[in-house]
Subunit: 426 residues, 2 copies
Amino acid sequence: MSSTTEPRAGGASTLHSQAAAAKATTRRLAAASTREKNAALTAMADALLRATPRILEANCVDVDAAAMRGQTAALVDRLRLTEARVAQIAEGVRQIAALPDPVGRIERLEARPNGLRVGRMTVPLGLVGIVYEARPNVTIDAAALCLKSGNACLLRGGSEALASNRALVSVVGDALASAGLPREAVSFVDDTDREGVREMARLSGVLDLLIPRGGEGLIRFVTEHATVPVIQHYKGVCHVYVDGAADLAMAEAIAVNAKTHRPGVCNAMETLLVDAACAHAFLPRVADAMRAKGVALRGCGRARALVPSMAAASDADWDTEYLDLVLSVRVVDGLDAALAHIAAHGTGHTEAIVSADRDRGERFVREVDASLVLVNASTRFNDGFELGLGAEMGISTTKLHAYGPMGLEELCARKWVGYGAGQIRG
Amino acid sequence: MSSTTEPRAGGASTLHSQAAAAKATTRRLAAASTREKNAALTAMADALLRATPRILEANCVDVDAAAMRGQTAALVDRLRLTEARVAQIAEGVRQIAALPDPVGRIERLEARPNGLRVGRMTVPLGLVGIVYEARPNVTIDAAALCLKSGNACLLRGGSEALASNRALVSVVGDALASAGLPREAVSFVDDTDREGVREMARLSGVLDLLIPRGGEGLIRFVTEHATVPVIQHYKGVCHVYVDGAADLAMAEAIAVNAKTHRPGVCNAMETLLVDAACAHAFLPRVADAMRAKGVALRGCGRARALVPSMAAASDADWDTEYLDLVLSVRVVDGLDAALAHIAAHGTGHTEAIVSADRDRGERFVREVDASLVLVNASTRFNDGFELGLGAEMGISTTKLHAYGPMGLEELCARKWVGYGAGQIRG
């Protein structure tokens, strides 16, 4: 990993040679045994606890600087580490060590008519780049997930967290070395200008995948310039559609949970769609329940006719990810209109229907294009832990390769393998 | 599909609106039943046979123009259609109709501790773009594979085949319409300048995937400019490694088949690696066998010491895809040296070991990074039909999403689905 703190000079070749050094470890990482990888992860968790004072000291530098620059309280909060937070990060690393090794599993092995036995084997991707923003815990989560899945990684955190990240990465490097694995397998790009992101996105033949995690601006910038494969973790404008055949108590509980359980995250509901068939019965009660939780409502004309105290929604509301206690509400004429609204305004993240009608539920599941489509459950379940992946790298809204939470398996590719006894083509 | 033959004016928006019209059919295509899709495919096969005279007439225009422009015999051959060739293309469409529908299958459905049943459902990608060169059969193969997998497609063939492709696409459009599916689901970009390829590669939010099929120059151009996901079908510098523990008769048969069965394709062997432990016994016999098939040999110093009549290989030979009856030969010191050579010079396509030693075979399978890794079989098996996919779109050397032959399943994504009974997050 780079430890250069001097001003960058000839930065282009610096990044390229750092990435090449990380790439050079991929054969070793791909062949690492489960035991070796778990030893490194356990060493990493132990070292995080031992080095907590040093990590918190470095984190103070970042937090003070952010506060002095007048950053928002939300950003400072994402940035801040505490003893408890570091312990939680270390515990997350231990949980990743405890997960099954995703590498080297052969699936669907079958004999062809000529006797050649063919199947697919899970293999690491190689060198995975991650570009992220203020949260220093991503440094450890990403390093641990990549290591367990046999991938080397090239991490580039936000400038706000530079001191924290340097301290964390030095702990990771020592843990790798103590387990006999190459330090360069977790490489940190110690650089904070955006030109560096552009360069990273163009490391064709070196970087096997780039994952931008952060605001829409960062993701668009990476997509615009990338020549390497990119998996985007875009925003979620998530809907709950309450069908005419819904159990209204269930619908209310799901809608309130989807909106208010954690409004600042991507799988929170932003728009509630209500079938005209039940709007009269449902809208007033859900409006009361939402208000009791402090949610501001913005409705279409038909919704406001039933709940006149709602503010009026503008066209822009249907495409807005509020990430806040704000909800847009629209009355629609049944399932087809709900499907059309979601096709027009959804972002491929998470969509839910509440209905006791099995056929309508199944049509919704089949016809909605989103990384998770739910029947009678809260949108908040789009999460690696909730779906059983054990840990995740974020939620992909890219349809190729990984659509939804990216766990260890999604950090692997599948190659074909064939076992023969001298077969040739005739 | 576009039928504009006037000079392009405001081409940018023409392509964009054509693509948007194709995109607009994706919801309909994704929801199409197996019966509807198969009816369209059968109609397509029937119509190809009925329209053969018209197709051959159009093809003559292309072939004559290519011959007049002094194109190579190989290109003219790829371009030429005959009655038998059209019948074969139609038969391929019928075979695709007979394959299982890849869409809508739920995999690994399991109940979470809270009772939420979650799984993954195969879904179409949406709108798939394919850029290809002279072979007009790709137009039909791609249209049929996309249709069966519920995808709309935007096809852009080479300028050499323009008249042929117009005739073929008009047949496809009629077949779609006769089955009640939208004509625009198979859209043909009737344009032949490279700027159009650049524009197509930048249709973010419209094109869900772009597959460039053709020479290295085309693929690099697309990758350089793309903002949409790209799956590359790159060249194959494929190796056969003959281990010291190989059955030499088997090794000879595999090497000769891998090199000479069809030397012009990407899964043909380009470099033979021979373990020093058996080089003395193996090299002279395989050299004789290759020569008898007209193969020109280029060897390293150690190979030439054993077979002095071989030409000397230059450094560039180890990275060359000859696509011809030429073979480079290198003597290596056992498995580790073979793995290092392949890691340095392989292109992630197809690699094979010949060895009776099970452990070495397994190490080769696990450690070689290629879309198909074989033990004791010819590299020629990297093919959708041979691996049991039924039909293919080409062979991906992109590791993400699809690594190896792209069949119907690889033209699908997997979304998460969840069936609940009112679950919310606590």
